[in-house]
């Protein structure tokens, strides 16, 4: 598959715009899911994704094969852009950033297989999330599932749990801290 990547890169470097579009299609979900969202959150992820690909476009002419694939190279740019974004907002990198080793980009990832790898990594992540949620009280787990996994709005979540919005905020806060503790415990184990 590396030859496929090389051909794609060659076409991009010769000025074929549609090939860069193919690269975007193959990699942007992966970058969002495992590099950008865990660092800056869903709300600002699209902005960082945009910065990442603009930076990649600016320097792809100089890209040379030196033992890493295009996805690894893009992941490095996405990490840097995420950090720049956090610094611009005067924010420190999140404390869980270094914990989830499964979110690290493996070496020599062929770009054409990015989607397959994303699905596999997502499966591993979800299984681990489910295992961690199972350690929490059902109410905490339900709050996290609704608000963060299913993306249900804050007021509707409060309604479903039959509490006020302010109480739901407290439940969610306690739930996220409990989740972080369980996740870190598993990391250490």
């Amino acid at each position: 598959m590396e030859s496929d990547d090389r051909e794609l890169l060659d076409r991009i470097q010769k000025g074929d715009g549609e090939s860069f579009g193919v690269l975007f299609d193959r990699t942007h979900r992966w970058l969002l899911q495992f590099i950008i969202v865990p660092r800056v959150g869903r709300a600002e992820a699209e902005e960082v994704l945009s910065d990442t690909f603009r930076a990649a476009l600016g320097s792809i002419a100089e890209f040379r094969w030196q033992g890493i694939g295009i996805l690894h190279w893009l992941a490095a740019i996405a990490k840097r852009k995420s950090l720049e974004h956090l610094r611009r907002r005067s924010r420190m990198p999140q404390s869980l950033e270094d914990h989830p080793a499964l979110l690290e980009v493996p070496d020599d990832v062929p770009t054409a297989e990015a989607e397959m790898i994303r699905q596999e990594a997502l499966g591993i992540l979800r299984r681990r999330v489910d295992a961690t949620l199972a350690q929490l009280t059902p109410r905490y787990a339900e709050a996290l599932r609704l608000r963060l996994l299913l993306g249900v709005g804050r007021l509707e979540c409060a309604q479903r749990l039959a509490v006020s919005a302010a109480t739901f905020d407290v439940v969610l806060y306690r739930a996220t801290r409990a989740f972080a503790r369980e996740w870190s415990r598993d990391e250490r184990a």
Binding site: F20, G41, E46, S50, Y173, A178
Partner: protein, 188 residues
Amino acid sequence: MSEREPWPESEPASQEIEASRRLAQALETGDSSLADGEAVAAAFLLQSGAHLPPDDVGRQRLRKELVAAVVSPTLGLMRWVGLAAASLVAGALLVTALWRMTSAPSLYTLEAREMAARQALESVPRSTRAGLSTGTRMESTYDTAWRERLDSELQSSRFTRMWDQSNPGNTASGGRSRHAIQNSGGAS
């Protein structure tokens, strides 16, 4: 139910309420600068495991922009060369125009031109100039004669037409029209 997180929950302290509000704000707006780092990190981690929304309009627009922004290196080089050449030409024209604007035609320049014209005229052999003059006069005489002939033919034609109109049946050409004369070959 886990023993680590007793249920029902305890009454939250004011600091916890504030931290909860900030986390809620961070999830709504993305601004997590004041929120609890560990809670935010856990929230973002959980969000990354969620289903991504389908490609929205913004992502499609970004893709189009990126595709259009890719430039061929050869084309890019040609653009730079073209731009440099155009700049050189424009610069040269500008310098010339400025030089002409600043240097008004001087007496010296006019005199120099007149002198050059005289020298050019002098360089033509005298015999050639005489020949040219004679040729011009002959052409003039020929043109005058030709114009006079045309005028007389025109006047004759007018007279014939007027006569025919005022004396029908009694033509100025002795009973024969000009057309008849021409058709008969001109012989009476």
